[in-house]
Subunit: 262 residues, 2 copies
Amino acid sequence: MKSERPLILVSNDDGITAPGIRALIEAVSELGEVVIVAPDAPQSGMGHAVTISKPLRLDKTDIYESLVAYQCSGTPADCVKLAVDKVLHRKPDLLVSGINHGSNSSINVLYSGTMSAAMEGAIEGIPSVGFSLCNFAYDADFTAAKKIVKIIAQNIIKNGLPVGTLLNVNIPNVSEKDLNGVKICRQALAKWQEEFDERKDPNGRKYYWLTGKFVNRDKGEDTDEWALANNFVSVVPVHFDLTAHHSISFLNGWELDSVLGK
Amino acid sequence: MKSERPLILVSNDDGITAPGIRALIEAVSELGEVVIVAPDAPQSGMGHAVTISKPLRLDKTDIYESLVAYQCSGTPADCVKLAVDKVLHRKPDLLVSGINHGSNSSINVLYSGTMSAAMEGAIEGIPSVGFSLCNFAYDADFTAAKKIVKIIAQNIIKNGLPVGTLLNVNIPNVSEKDLNGVKICRQALAKWQEEFDERKDPNGRKYYWLTGKFVNRDKGEDTDEWALANNFVSVVPVHFDLTAHHSISFLNGWELDSVLGK
């Protein structure tokens, strides 16, 4: 039996040219054979969108020199689906997504294209992880983040992940010497307080721009928000079974069949 | 204290003119004061996307005659956010989304714009529910679906929902007399087996179109797929805490801090 190097699929949502994906590729490139399939343009805030009503482009690019890399006109979830169906010849041993420019902690996991690539990987049965650095700047410093990526990727390759579980890793925006460690956490139950900025276009018609304030009323010290505020890297195990199992018995108390005369 | 009629926010992802949202409005209009904020064009497959890199339009429309209705250029999640911030003067007592033309059972909850409107409502603390009819046709028969919508909406208004729980309701495509009842279920752990259709454009360049086959290996009789296959309406309680709590102890066994010299 031939012993193959681990096959590592890389994607993101900031687009294939973002500094974050370059840092991610550098961090994992010595761990295995790297294949990149990422959006050809930024896709932040795409949530778990897939493109069903228009065609997709998938073009080879040599921007990562000797590495196999494709840019795709679709969403991060589309990239993973296309990689599995059209690019890769076997199931990858690891999918890494990111490194996102900006946090994807707490409720942001739902809105995040970075995490949707990882979620799609997990649905495909690939051990998957999304990485985000809590710094939106184009020229953010990914030095510490790269070390975190590497140790977590090594652990996943060595230990695997429980079936149906992916990881949401957020890295505080501090230098390596100020990092206090890595904490396994739960998702903080926080939300965005929307505030749409109302403006007028040059023709006098109103338009709105999404803005907002992040509000965290979850004071738990086992949450990702607590970890990040205390200079820990947060690692949240995530799954795609959205069933609120604890609510099933409550709902079983409702009389619903009567409407059907049953 | 003035006793107000329940305030009901209506949205969807097939667009404000879809027959499904018209059926939904008819089903809930006698239960309270109805306000509609829905996309101005179809948004299927948008997952939990939000629009952050471009402006949004929100325009009043009189297509629902005496009812307050707005069409929005954004995603279903954008519609709910804009409704809460710019249209409604108080928190609604109920959010209903749909009726989607096509199933949103099982893993489709992740890709569904209909469910993302309901998810956004739940994040806002609004009792929320998404309805889908397992029939993609424009001229689908919503007669039985309307009865199901009404009884579930009445129950939510009367009993509320547990904090952080929303409902994913799918209705099989059969006549009322063939419906066997309403079942509270868990999300079946199924997936889509991707198959991208590869084509050539008029200039000879390749493009891909997403297609695929739904594969359900989850044989549980407590799942939404089982319920639908057996002519039951499926009701899955859903939450937006994606933490895979059962995986926390597994991850706590990893040695991660060593990379930081801690």
